[in-house]
């Protein structure tokens, strides 16, 4: 009896039987700012979930793995989490390239995927027939819908007509480029340049020279945080006169707002710490309490919402059975820092969370990211032209 009790205590102490969620994130490499932000969001959600009793009466455990922003590293890390660590569910995922790479093993093992990133359409194609794929982040066509709305406004009110496009040569930048160009043209814009670049190379000299020759009103770039400062530097050095430098990296470089070169640079975000809704304010307060700081990276609240909703679905399902958890997660209808979250079909997948209406456009103004569009959310007038 004594031995039995001791074994029971030891098992309880070792966390045996706990529900395990594997979290694959780019904690290093090109997408690391998003990955690090997401890890903080997961940490905050985990604290709250376990303080409230965990899931199924057991503590929730997270197993983090770094995909290094590289598909070649993501696949073995994913397989290790699923087969060696034997996680019950997978969460995380930022980069489209790594998400495509793991789509094969995910389908092979029938892994439950509560996925926060990966906006490129090839990811949607890859997971279209996967029954347990819940995608929280809007697909790139939703992102583009929001961007086009903003640019149309600039066309009407600021006479912006010519767009130069710079895009990274991975799936994130390249996948929808033809559709992007076609949509801009259809909306009455002149696409005066479409140029690829290698993310992280920092070599934007020739690209900016070409843009200068093309005389755009807007330079629209699709890349990662590592590209923001080198591009802004080169624009300034070559004195490229623009109405707007607009970027859509998943995250921005740490401390970018303190650099003068960030002045007036605009971008897209699902959320800003200044967002006034109740859930956003609660998230900011809890985040500040835990980490002593505030973040503007939307991957932090996105990861937070991701784990909270997954935990709620597991509890509602009463087991870790994938089909039952999927059925419960599909019923999600909760307020979040981004607005209400429900899952509805996208063009190809069954469970899509946030869509075009959740995006905000901001500008770096006076050391901060300030919402400038949609106008009803604008906290300051946008600066167009310099």
């Amino acid at each position: 009896m004594k031995t039995f009790l001791m074994t029971g205590v030891l098992l309880a102490l070792s966390g045996a039987g706990a529900v395990k969620v594997g979290v694959l994130l780019p904690l290093s490499g090109a997408g690391s700012v998003s990955g690090q932000a997401a890890r903080s969001g997961y940490g905050l959600a985990l604290d709250e979930i376990n303080r409230a009793g965990g899931v199924l009466g057991k503590p929730l455990e997270l197993e983090f793995a770094d995909d290094g922003s590289a598909p070649a590293k993501a696949v073995p890390e994913f397989v290790k989490l699923v087969t060696v660590e034997k996680v019950d569910f997978m969460a995380g995922g930022v980069s489209s390239a790594t998400s495509i790479a793991i789509s094969g093993p995910a389908k092979q093992y029938g892994t439950f995927m509560a996925w926060i990133g990966a906006a490129a359409v090839p990811v949607e194609d890859a997971f279209a027939d996967h029954p347990y794929f819940f995608h929280y982040h809007p697909w790139s066509y939703y992102n583009f819908e929001a961007i086009l709305g903003y640019f149309r406004y600039l066309k009407t009110y600021k006479k912006a007509k010519n767009i130069a496009i710079a895009y990274e040569d991975g799936p994130f930048g390249s996948a929808g480029i033809d559709a992007t160009v076609a949509a801009f043209k259809k909306a009455g814009f002149n696409v005066v340049m479409t140029e690829k670049f290698k993310t992280g190379s920092g070599n934007f000299g020739p690209l900016v020279s070409k843009a200068k020759a093309a005389k755009p009103d807007i330079l629209y770039w699709v890349g990662y945080d590592t590209d923001a400062l080198p591009l802004a530097t080169e624009v300034k050095q070559q004195n490229l006169q623009l109405g707007l430098l607009y970027g859509t990296p998943p995250s921005w470089p740490v401390g970018f707002e303190k650099n003068k070169l960030s002045d007036n640079v605009a971008g897209l975000s699902l959320w800003l710490s200044s967002s006034p809704n109740k859930e956003s304010r609660a998230f900011v307060a809890a985040y500040r309490k835990k980490y002593g700081t505030v973040t503007d990276e939307y991957f932090a609240p996105l990861a937070y919402v991701n784990l909270k909703t997954l935990a709620a679905a597991i509890n509602a399902a009463g087991s870790t059975d994938k089909a039952r958890v999927a059925a419960e997660l599909a019923k999600t209808n909760v307020p979040t820092p981004f607005g209400p979250l429900t899952f509805t079909p996208s063009l190809k997948t069954k469970y899509q969370g946030f869509k075009a209406g959740n995006w905000l456009h901001f500008q770096y103004l006076g050391d901060a990211r300030v919402p400038v569009f949609p106008i009803k959310f604008a906290q300051q007038p946008m600066v167009y032209g310099r």
Binding site: S32, K198, G202, G205, P206, A213, Q237, Q238, N239, L261
Partner: protein, 286 residues
């Protein structure tokens, strides 16, 4: 014509950074005879030190450059004493495995200590440029080019005008012969390897101003440095500058004039390595 001229300027400016990184690698290969796969990681250390000086102490990266160079010289000396010297007589594969492992170790140490985030510095001259008519010459890149030329010149001067330089060249030509005439080979190797690391760190400081500091920032430049020293000829310091210019300008031309060139520019150095090796083997066969 204006775009063409600006493309040449862009390529030339980019080549300064390449030359700085490659000069250190050329020294390690030429004198010590070791292919240092961890060279990019010494650049990364320099970049992080510049960022730390700027973020924590408010030091301008360029002002802290000499201190960083000396500090990384020390790190290089320590690396040499602890690891490199023990494999100098070992088969080349062992040397490569050691430096490769060293690179992974340093990169992961940086990840553990500083995380994977990219760090940027902010300086008043970051976006400075000189306008020559319609041409723009970026200030920090021009500085990198000038510094590379000056350092390569100084290195050349040391190698050909000083006793230490003559000792280095003697060691590079024939280790045993140099030992027989009383040269302290171990000391020469130590100095050459440490200077090589310090040169990488100098490049790292400029990278922190031009781009960012991150655990993986060295890899891109180390790969290009390998291409440059292959083009220049292993250990040929004088060839480093022209090979860097050739690489920088070729990349710029590809980026500007080849459709989708931005995606192809990283293939340029592979093509150059390939082309150089084929050319060399063809010449050798004759």
């Amino acid at each position: 014509m204006e775009l063409f001229a600006q493309t040449l300027v862009n390529g030339l400016l980019q080549s300064g950074l390449y030359a700085l990184v490659a000069s250190g690698l050329a020294l390690a290969v030429g004198v010590v005879g070791i292919v240092n796969f961890a060279h990019g990681e010494y650049l990364m250390i320099g970049a992080f030190l510049a960022w730390a000086g700027s973020a924590l102490l408010g030091l301008d990266p360029l002002l802290s450059l000499p201190v960083i160079a000396v500090a990384v010289y020390g790190v290089g000396a320590l690396t040499y004493r602890v690891s490199i010297r023990h494999v100098l007589l070992a088969p080349e594969l062992n040397q490569m495995l050691l430096t490769f492992g060293l690179g992974i170790l340093l990169q992961n140490l940086a990840l553990m200590l500083l995380g994977g985030n990219t760090r940027t510095v902010s300086t008043p001259y970051q976006a400075s440029s000189l306008q020559l008519g319609e041409l723009s010459v970026g200030g920090p890149k021009a500085l990198a080019f000038g510094l590379a030329a000056a350092l390569l010149g100084a290195l050349y001067g040391v190698l050909y005008r000083t006793t230490l330089g003559r000792q280095m060249r003697a060691v590079a030509q024939n280790r045993r012969g140099a030992q027989l005439i009383g040269i302290n080979v171990d000391r020469v190797y130590l100095i050459a390897f440490s200077v090589s690391c310090a040169l990488a760190a100098v490049a790292g400081v400029l990278v922190s101003v031009l781009l960012f500091a991150s655990p993986t920032v060295g890899l891109v430049f180390a790969l290009k440095a390998f291409a440059i020293i292959v083009m220049a000829g292993l250990g040929n310091l004088t060839g480093v500058l022209w090979a860097s210019v050739l690489l920088g300008v070729s990349e710029a031309l590809v980026q500007t004039y080849v459709p989708g060139g931005g995606g192809w520019s990283d293939a340029v150095f592979f093509l150059m390595i390939f082309g150089t090796l084929v050319l060399r083997s063809f010449r050798g066969a004759r």
